[in-house]
């Protein structure tokens, strides 16, 4: 039973990640592969704050969000001058920088040794100390993230984001401050992704840099693309599919070493097929490939 709950908790964490990335990449058209950096900042802020300052779950979350929003603001700056492939490469650079900090600033992050002993979350004195409780907590935050992004993208604010995605020059000519929107979206998306990091750190109680590599960023963008960028349900479906499918492979009866490799091949093949036959994703409306 705990295994099933574990999968559901992971799905909730990934839903927060895909929803926040969808705001940036799907709705605003800024394809970023630095999302694991925001995720990591949330997780490291949580680990370091709760261990050194004994801060509670919500304080960790708020400070992690602030840190990720600040990083998001910085990452957004290249998007004001460069576009498309060049911007993707710039976000790759940011991802590598943040990963390097996690991995090499040993005095601060303990580097590859990781940070063990992160306390479980407690909310208003109520300990979240079982899989069931954590499932409810993570589902609550996944719903909140979904609600925030849903509200934004279905408002005049979201209309401007879509206009920036489709034709930035036209949006400028209509008096929209495109630069400001891009910075805001990265700050908001980054802050939301850090919530996933916070939950992850409190859930597994141990973090190390390998959870926040470029591969993690690619996994999240794959979920968005496979589900369908520029829709809300699409990336959620993408997250569910890509969390469950590798787990399903465990039950085929293959040795774990073969299954792990098979999983990577499966991911890759799925992405290639989606790009070839359904670039807008399962239910998306926006074709990231066309950028």
């Amino acid at each position: 039973m705990d295994y099933l709950l574990h999968i559901l908790i992971l799905i909730n964490i990934y839903i927060i990640l895909v929803i926040s990335l969808d705001l940036i990449a799907g709705y605003t058209g800024l394809l970023s592969i630095a999302h694991a950096a925001f995720y990591g900042i949330g997780a490291y802020a949580t680990a370091l704050l709760s261990l050194h300052f004994q801060t509670n779950f919500l304080v960790n979350m708020a400070l992690g969000m602030a840190g990720a929003a600040l990083l998001g603001t910085i990452i957004a700056f290249p998007s004001l001058r460069i576009h498309d492939d060049y911007f993707v490469i710039a976000t790759f650079g940011f991802q590598m920088i943040v990963y390097s900090v996690f991995n090499n600033w040993v005095d601060f992050t303990r580097g590859p040794l990781g940070i063990p002993g992160i306390p479980t979350a407690s909310l208003f004195g109520f300990a979240i100390d079982s899989h069931w409780k954590f499932l409810i907590l993570s589902a609550l935050f996944a719903c909140l993230a979904y609600g925030v992004v849903h509200k934004l993208v279905n408002s005049p604010y979201g209309r401007v984001l879509k206009a920036i995605r489709e034709d930035e020059i036209f949006a400028r000519s209509l008096g929209k401050n495109v630069n400001s929107y891009k910075i805001q979206v990265f700050a908001i998306g980054g802050a939301l992704a850090s919530v996933a990091g916070n939950l992850y750190a409190h859930y597994v109680t141990f973090i190390d840099p390998t959870s926040f590599t470029i591969l993690e960023s690619i996994l999240v963008i794959s979920m968005v693309i496979i589900g369908g960028a520029g829709s809300l349900r699409g990336p959620v479906i993408g997250a569910v599919v890509l969390v469950i499918l590798p787990e399903a492979l465990r039950f085929v009866g293959l040795p774990s070493s073969v299954a792990a490799n098979l999983r990577q091949i499966f991911y890759g093949s799925l992405l290639v097929l989606m790009m070839l036959y359904r670039p807008q994703g399962l239910i998306g409306e926006f074709n990231l490939q066309g950028r």
Binding site: L152, P156, S173, N179, Q184
Partner: protein, 250 residues
């Protein structure tokens, strides 16, 4: 010509050694229609890009109501009241006609993050802009409101870009070839709207190659060639010059 609302003096813009605009000066009268004519590559669209902030002049000064526009970003210039259309028709084709118009409406509170998140739902601004446009003679767009902009005919799309400029509440409209490639009936409709907009107090500057269109609606004409303004004045002064008609409008 009435009082000059928009002026440019000694404007120069060079791209990789090619002089696109060369010491160009102009003055646009308030509540007039000015046509900019000239051969391809004369610098007409570059001049629009300089006025609207999409390009910065290497030299010279652009003033709107006596305030310089130099260094002002495009969105700020649009907010001050100068709207434009583009030669390569720009719209959000994946959005409905209604959403394109609502996008154009200025100062919408729920375009701000906190208001979008916590503000009350409702499209009061959208309804206002639709009512205004209907009064201004754009009622023919109403049955098309729920169509995707990309599904409209080319002429209808051009008409929609004009309506977007109006939805912005702009004082000055810069229209880049507003009737080029458009069915004659729709072209006539667009030109008629330009005249009506002037009557309503708007100032229009448009780039055009079609002499009949220029004759029908323009009050002033600016002639450009190789980046320079080689003639300007009232339609009656400029369009009687045979060399100009032969060189640029036929």
């Amino acid at each position: 010509m009435g009082e000059a609302i928009l002026t440019g003096s000694d404007l120069r813009k060079v791209f990789d050694g090619t002089v696109a605009v060369d010491d160009a000066s102009f003055a646009i009268g308030e509540k007039t229609i000015t046509a900019i004519i000239g051969p391809n590559g004369a610098g007409k669209t570059t001049l629009f890009n300089l006025i609207t902030g999409f390009l910065s002049p290497d030299r010279g000064d652009i003033r709107f109501r006596n305030k310089t526009l130099n260094g002002t970003p495009p969105h700020e210039i649009a907010r001050r009241g100068i709207s434009r259309t583009f030669q390569d028709l720009r719209l959000i084709r994946q959005m409905s006609v209604r959403d394109n118009l609502r996008l154009a409406y200025p100062n919408q509170k729920r375009e701000a993050f906190w208001r979008a998140l916590f503000g009350r739902k409702g499209e009061a601004e959208g309804r206002v802009v639709e009512a205004t446009l209907r009064l201004q003679g754009f009622g023919s767009l109403v049955p098309l409101y729920d169509e995707l902009a990309g599904n409209l005919s080319y002429g209808q799309q051009k008409f929609l870009t004009l309506a977007c400029c109006l939805a912005m509440g702009a004082e000055i409209l810069l229209l880049d070839e507003p009737v080029a490639g458009v069915h004659p009936d729709m072209a006539s409709q667009i030109l008629q709207h330009m005249l009506e907009l002037k009557e309503q107090g708007r100032t229009i500057v448009f780039i055009e190659h079609d002499i009949e269109a220029v004759r029908r609606v323009a009050d002033q004409v600016i002639v450009m060639d190789e980046g320079k303004v080689i003639a300007s004045g009232s339609k009656d002064e400029v369009l009687v010059r045979k060399e100009i008609i032969e060189a640029y409008l036929t």
